[in-house]
């Protein structure tokens, strides 16, 4: 479980790959593994009913479950559909890079991911506690008290170090140029300032969310930091 890394990693890849990738599918790939599952892990209330997985960890990362979305194969399948089905090699490869980054990053927690699915072995470094089963707020408090939050901070700092990828000039020369069909179509509706807002949105979201959740966890609620391996140990970490 990572909170901001999936928002921020695409900008780091962008810095190194420039015009060779398209940003939108890269970001979509980075979000894809959790896109349809996260809400069911935490649960939602609709019309007086709670919809939540009976075993959130198994549903999110396991098999049987949706754990296959965190595998390398998932990225290959969706990337191939974008490439062969929709005729865009650029979108297919960009999606694949973003998706693999997500699956590999999530091996950092105590549950890990089935990277080589259909082999159902969970690859896990176990650096920070997976606490999705405890609900969104407890998960946030735990994540931003352990090494997971610090890992996100690395990406924020790397993004700030790579600040040029966020400039309008970079957007014109690389982002727009690499995928002019998509951005050109959108330009008709929201102009260049609107395009820039959308391009920067994930970095803005990841960075601001990191700061806000950190303040919420440690200033408003005083959850203790525990930067030891596999922590924080005040929460019941899930394992596969």
């Amino acid at each position: 479980m990572s909170w901001a890394a999936h928002d921020l990693e695409p900008y780091a890849f962008q810095r190194h790959l420039g015009i060779k990738i398209a940003f939108v599918p890269l970001l979509l790939g980075s979000y894809a593994p959790d896109l349809m599952t996260k809400w069911f892990v935490y649960g939602v209330h609709l019309f007086g009913h709670e919809f939540k997985a009976s075993d959130p960890v198994q549903f999110h990362r396991g098999w049987p479950g949706m754990g296959l979305t965190h595998s390398l194969l998932w990225g290959v399948v969706i990337g191939a559909i974008l490439w062969k089905g929709f005729g865009s090699k650029l979108w297919g490869i960009s999606f694949l890079i973003g998706d693999w980054a997500h699956a590999i990053t999530d091996t950092g927690d105590t549950v890990g991911t089935m990277l080589l699915f259909p082999w159902t072995h969970h690859f896990s470094i176990g650096a920070w506690a997976y606490a999705g089963q405890a609900g969104r707020l407890t998960d946030a408090a735990a994540y931003f008290s352990g090494l997971g939050g610090m890992w996100d901070l690395v990406w924020i700092l790397y993004g700030l170090y790579s600040w040029r990828v966020l400039t309008g000039t970079y957007f014109d020369n690389y982002i727009f140029a690499a995928d002019h069909r998509f951005w050109g179509w959108l330009h008709k509706f929201i102009g260049r300032d609107g395009l820039l807002a959308l391009y920067r949105a994930a970095f803005f979201y990841g960075s601001c969310r990191w700061i806000a959740w950190t303040i919420w966890a440690h200033v408003v609620h005083h959850y203790p930091y525990d930067l030891t391996w596999g922590g924080p140990h005040w929460v019941d970490a899930a394992h596969p």
């Binding site: 946030a140 300032d193 609107g194 820039l196 807002a197 949105a201 994930a202 601001c208 969310r209 806000a212």
Partner: protein
Amino acid sequence: MRLRPLGRDSGWTLVVWGTAAGVYIAIGVFFVDFMLSVFVAMGYLLIVTWLVPATVRRLR
């Protein structure tokens, strides 16, 4: 290396985005549901950094 002073446009952009970030963080700390979705952040940014400045420019 010497840093060049920011141009007027760059300075204004920083002010707009810095204010947008400060307000987003302040809302997020007290209403955490506001930070649930990147799509909400996109909508917020479109309004604050594009729609509002464009409207102000048009009204001048």
